[in-house]
């Protein structure tokens, strides 16, 4: 088969055969001065490519790093495959043909299917945030140009605890779609929701944005992950924004606190089905952080009277950590607080203190009813956001 025909859909009018022997061993042909630098660059197929589909005329290639799909003709695909090993264009085709296939090679380079084989290998980088299939309550995606009242950030990390929680952010987001974020048709402002149990409107006018997940690169150093969570949170949660973190196991709390932009000391309030575990584990660890002044762990036996929160102090900055398993989805002995009692308690916290961060952590996908825990988590998250925003 003619080499040019192999790489192009149609041979040029001049056509003709070219000696194949030149392709593999010759160096750059002619004077490289003024020539296209691509001609002297060793190129190779990107490691990120995968085939998605093919038929008699085309191939669809997907870049797994960027999710970009490209439809290639069979000839372009053959050209791409010719760079399976690092080589220059003149090693793939003779000089006369190289000039003609150059535009096609450039297209493959522009689409990041062919890369410079001799470029320095970049340090192994993991993106700060990744897109997610569902947004919390169907809220819009976070954009740097806008500062929302609440930023949702998923942290699907569960390598430090006993719970299977890496899919919990996705489950919570999916269940949250029953409470979709809507804008008022008249004024374009967020409509909020009506809390039937308390008979009050909540989060009217409050803006939400979902910043996606902080990816976990399994096998990496834990310090790298902690730093990434902190950086992602610090980057997307600016100004007056209050973060809603979707964990993840309880270790997420410390990582999130590291990125919380808050000048003063924090009181971490953990509402969890296992307060002893929280206090012994993440609680003590949190107390070693400079910005944490106090950790309060409330469990099934919590003092449910709203006035309890006044005893902690006045106008504290509260980071509220909630295990959604505590109500509605777990049988505790003695029986845990009801959803309504928790909402009342959370509302009281918001009224007396200032909630500067909220998280749902510890939802165990292996528990009896993870879906119910996720639904409960949505209710508690919205109640906590209301307590931070509405303060009633």
């Amino acid at each position: 088969m003619a080499i040019l025909e192999a790489f192009c859909d149609e041979a040029p009018a001049s056509g003709g055969e070219y000696p194949a022997g030149d392709a593999r061993h010759s160096g750059p042909q002619g004077d490289p001065a003024g020539a296209d630098p691509l001609l002297t660059t060793r190129l190779m197929v990107s490691d990120d490519l995968a085939l998605e589909s093919q038929d008699d005329t085309h191939i669809v290639v997907i870049n797994t790093a960027s999710s970009a799909r490209t439809k290639l003709s069979l000839s372009a695909y053959r050209l791409l495959k010719a760079f399976a090993r690092p080589c220059r264009i003149d090693q793939v085709a003779p000089a006369q043909v190289a000039a003609q296939i150059l535009p096609q090679v450039r297209m493959l380079v522009d689409k990041q299917m062919l890369v410079d084989a001799d470029a320095p290998v970049p340090a192994d980088t993991v993106r700060l945030r990744t897109a997610v299939a569902y947004k919390f309550c169907g809220a819009p995606a976070y954009a740097k140009s806008k500062i929302p009242d609440f930023v949702i950030l998923g942290v699907p990390y569960d390598l430090a605890g006993e719970t299977d929680s890496r899919l919990a952010p996705a489950l919570i987001r999916r269940k949250s779609l029953d409470y979709s974020y809507q804008l008022d048709f008249g004024d374009g402002r967020p409509r909020g929701w009506f809390d039937v149990n308390r008979g009050v409107w909540m989060l009217r006018g409050a803006t939400l944005a979902d910043a996606g997940d902080v990816p976990v690169d399994y096998g990496e150093n834990r310090a790298c992950w902690v730093e990434r969570v902190g950086t992602a949170l610090a980057e997307c949660c600016t100004g007056h924004s209050v973060p809603l973190i979707l964990g993840g196991d309880r270790s997420v709390t410390g990582a999130a606190l590291g990125g919380l932009r808050h000048p003063g000391k924090l009181t971490v309030v953990q509402i969890t089905a296992d307060p002893e575990h929280a206090a012994d584990g993440a609680g003590r660890h949190l107390l070693r952080m400079d910005k944490v002044e106090r950790v309060v762990s409330l469990g099934a036996c919590l003092d449910r009277r709203p006035e309890t929160v006044r005893a902690w102090g006045d106008a504290l900055s509260i980071y509220l950590s909630i295990d959604p398993s505590i109500a509605g989805a777990r049988w505790t002995a003695p029986p845990g607080p009801t959803l309504h009692e928790l909402k009342v308690l959370i509302a009281a916290i918001g009224k007396v203190h200032r909630i500067v961060g909220i998280e749902l952590v510890g939802l165990d996908m292996r528990s009896r009813s993870p879906e119910l825990a996720a639904i409960t988590g949505c209710h508690l998250a919205l109640a906590a956001m209301s307590a931070a925003h509405d303060r009633f």
Partner: protein, 282 residues
């Protein structure tokens, strides 16, 4: 195909009964917009009921046939005809659902009971606006029922959660008793909303019960009633008002945990059928 009868009552087709409870299953999912599986509810409730022996006589007429994948208009008509036939025989109809949209057919069949009050146990008001909902949908079935000529008052019990509106004020003849109010107020106060001499149709969506006890339903909402509380409230009404029909809806065995939901549904029915019998003899 029906595999068991409710409470082990005799299966019978055709012959007149009279002075009894007659059971009809409606294995429907066609009005269900959330999660498929309520069509398996009737059989699951029947199986769970086999360990219970309520003090009442009943006949299980089996299921309305060809419901699933059928034309819902035809299904509603056949349910209405079946309920009509039960009433003509002097029996009390008890429907096993199936999705809650089916309740419309049973209430429509009771047009001789005028005025008819509705007692609706549900986590949701089922009073969605017409847009974005088809005519036959469990999210707006109560709105449709409110439009029936013979329907007077509606008492909705168990509403809770987070909604887009204050749904308690959607209809001037509807009283909404939230789950919290239903838990905290004395059970007898529910009678204040139902005039003494007017018949009542009682419809129970199992999602009125807290998902800790009844997780097997399409749209569970935390913070619901306990099984015991719902039994108590329903029993107070059944003992003090003429309940002319009853249904148990939205049990979804595909979402259940160890049959707890169908067991809860069967237990509630076992509590109510003796009272239905006694009142029918008055």
């Amino acid at each position: 195909m029906t595999v068991a009868s409710l409470f082990g009552w005799p299966n019978a087709a055709g012959e007149p009964a009279g002075d009894a409870i007659e059971i009809v299953g409606v294995p429907s999912d066609s009005g269900n917009s959330i999660a498929s599986g309520a069509r398996f509810g009737p059989d699951a409730i029947r199986r769970a009921s086999l360990v219970l022996r309520p003090d009442a006589n009943g006949i299980d007429r089996g299921d309305i046939g060809d419901v699933h994948d059928g034309d819902w208009q035809d299904v509603l008509e056949r349910v209405e005809n079946a309920v009509n036939a039960i009433v003509r025989r002097g029996s009390r109809p008890v429907l096993l659902g199936g999705d809650h949209a089916i309740s419309y057919a049973a209430v429509a069949a009771l047009r001789e009971c005028r005025p008819l009050n509705i007692l609706w146990f549900d986590a949701h008001t089922d009073f969605c606006a017409w847009p974005n909902a088809h005519w036959h949908n469990h999210k707006q079935v109560l709105r449709r029922i409110a439009g029936l000529d013979h329907v007077a008052r509606i008492v909705q019990v168990g509403h809770r959660g987070i909604t887009y509106f204050d749904e308690a004020s959607r209809f001037d003849r509807m009283t909404v008793v939230t789950a919290r109010a239903a838990r905290e107020a004395p059970a007898e106060t529910i009678l204040e909303h139902l005039p003494r001499d007017e018949p009542v149709y009682m419809s129970i969506d199992i999602d009125a019960v807290d998902p800790r006890w009844a997780p097997g339903t399409g749209h569970p909402v935390p913070g619901g009633l306990s099984v015991a509380r719902l039994r108590r409230l329903a029993r107070v009404v059944a003992d003090n008002r003429e309940v002319v029909g009853l249904d148990m809806m939205e049990v979804n065995p595909l979402l259940d945990d160890r049959d707890r939901t169908s067991a809860a549904a069967a237990a509630i029915l076992a509590e109510l059928v003796p009272a239905l019998m006694r009142r029918s003899h008055h």
